[in-house]
Structures are given as C-alpha cells and as structure tokens.
C-alpha cells in the first residue's frame, strides 16, 4: 500500500483542474448553444484557476493578488457576454451560434 503524501494532494488538485479544463473544452466544442458555450468556458476558467494556484504555492502573496485580479476580470467578462447573448436572443429568437453571421446590422 502506498502512503499518502503531500505530493499526492498536489497531484490530485492539478489533475482535478486538468479534468475540469477537459470537460469545459468538450462542452465548448460539442455544442452551438451560446449560453452552454459560456457555461463551458466558465468551467475551463475554474480548472485553469485551480492549476495555476497549485503550480505557484511557493509564492502565496503573488498568487493571492493574481487570483483576485483573475476573478475580477472574469466577472466583468461574464457580465459583458451575458448582456450580448441577451441582446442577440431578443433580436433573433434563437441561441444558435451558427446563425449569428446572418444577423443584419449587428446585435
């Protein structure tokens, strides 16, 4: 039986982040629904966030500052994208990204 070490904890966190990224990429590539694509991108963000924090545990002050900046930027991005999707849905009545190029006059 292998003993559980602190390295196992690091590996588990990194692998969890990696699997979250994979699930998010799968969701983004498999669907054409704009909201589903946004949700998948948020899953990718959570995975990247975990991996970055697991990789830089030796500099916790900088990691904390970076984490706060990342969360702020992603929150702003979410607000903009949701507003654009809402305007697009109101104009076209669909959430399909394939029909976006047929919209006249933009969103």
């Amino acid at each position: 039986m292998t003993a559980v070490t602190i390295e196992s904890i690091g590996y588990t966190i990194t692998v969890t982040g990696l699997l979250l990224i994979t699930i998010g990429v799968y969701g983004f590539a498999a669907t054409r629904n704009l909201i589903r694509m946004l949700l998948s991108l948020e899953i990718v963000f959570n995975g990247v966030f975990l991996v970055i924090l697991a990789l830089i545990t030796s500099a916790p002050s900088y990691a904390t500052a970076l984490g706060i900046i990342l969360i702020s930027v992603v929150s702003a991005e979410v607000a903009v994208v949701v507003a654009i999707i809402a305007a697009y849905y109101r104009k076209t009545g669909v959430l399909d990204s394939d029909s976006a190029e047929n919209v006249e006059g933009g969103v």
Binding site: V4, I6, I13, T16, I35, S72
Partner: protein, 178 residues
C-alpha cells in the same frame, strides 16, 4: 533511566508521525471527495438538459472549487471567489438565463467535442507534467500584505480592473435597456 527516557522519546516521535500521516490521509480523503463532486457538477453543467439547472450546477462547481482553494491555504481568494464570482457573476448568469426563458434546440456534435477534449487533455497533461515542480500548503499571507501589494506593485492593474468593471456595468445596462 536513560533507557526509559529513550523509549518515551521514541513513542512520542512515533505517535507524532502517525498523527501527521493520519492528518494527511484525512486531508487527502476530503480533497478526493470534493474533487469528485466538482467534476460531477462540471459534467452536469456541460450535459444538463435544462440551461437553468446547468447554470446552478456551475454555481455548485465554483463553490466546490473555492473550497479546494481554501483547502490549499488561500482563504482570501476563496472568500473573494465565493462573494464576487459565485455570488455576483454566476448568479447574474442564472437570473439572466431564467428571465430569457430560452430552450436549447441545437444538436450536439459529440465527435468534435470528444476529439478536441482528448487533444487538449493530452497536450496539457504533457505540458503540466513538465511544469509541476512540487506542492506545499500555502502559508496564508495577512490581508495587509495583499492590500499593500495590490496598492503598490499592482496599482496599474487595479486601476485597469476598476475601469473595466465600471465600463462593464455601463455596457450591461445599456444593452439590457435596448
């Protein structure tokens, strides 16, 4: 007398080592359970039948990720993630999706999704294997240190974020009013 003292010292060291290993084992068990839940809710986010339930699953995933972040020692980031990301950004998604009332009608392309995901997993796996150098629990820096760092070294970044967030609010309001 000397032999008794040596035995007591050995017993003390043994008990301490056993306790340390038990602590790590319990931590590992808790982390594994949290990771399994995070992956399960992430899967529900991507594959859920209803968009509102998928958004709620995203909120649960982000909450569990913030728990893992707190477990790593970054308590401040975990609090910010729960308050700002889950409490504001993801809730904004949930409310918007609920109010839009849109149904998902598009067909999935599983083949492309699985291919791209496997490619990403293999490339990132190889890359992270080289990047990974080791793991330690983060020593929690006091909030004063972080605020000093943000207000001195990262001041320009902070100003940019403030401007971006203000622009976001104005843009979201103007788009929602149309």
């Amino acid at each position: 007398m000397c032999l008794t003292r040596r035995r007591a010292l050995l017993r003390f060291l043994l008990v301490r080592e056993v306790n340390r290993r038990l602590d790590i084992a319990y931590d590992y068990l808790g982390l594994t359970i949290l990771s399994a839940f995070a992956l399960y809710f992430a899967y529900l986010t991507v594959r859920g039948k209803d968009l509102v339930y998928s958004s709620v699953s995203l909120a649960l995933t982000a909450s569990i990720v913030s728990l893992i972040v707190a477990f790593m020692g970054y308590h401040l980031i975990a609090i910010v993630q729960l308050l700002v990301y889950v409490g504001a950004a993801v809730m904004f998604i949930i409310v918007s999706v609920s109010l839009l009332g849109a149904k998902e009608t598009t067909v999935r392309n599983e083949y492309i999704g699985v291919t791209v995901a496997l490619f990403t997993l293999s490339v990132l796996g190889l890359y992270l294997n080289k990047l990974y150098t080791g793991f330690t629990f983060a020593k929690v820096p006091p909030a004063q240190t972080i605020s000093d760092l943000l207000l001195s070294r990262y001041m320009s970044v902070l100003v940019l974020i403030i401007v971006a967030l203000a622009a976001t609010i104005i843009e979201a309001i103007s788009l929602a009013k149309r």
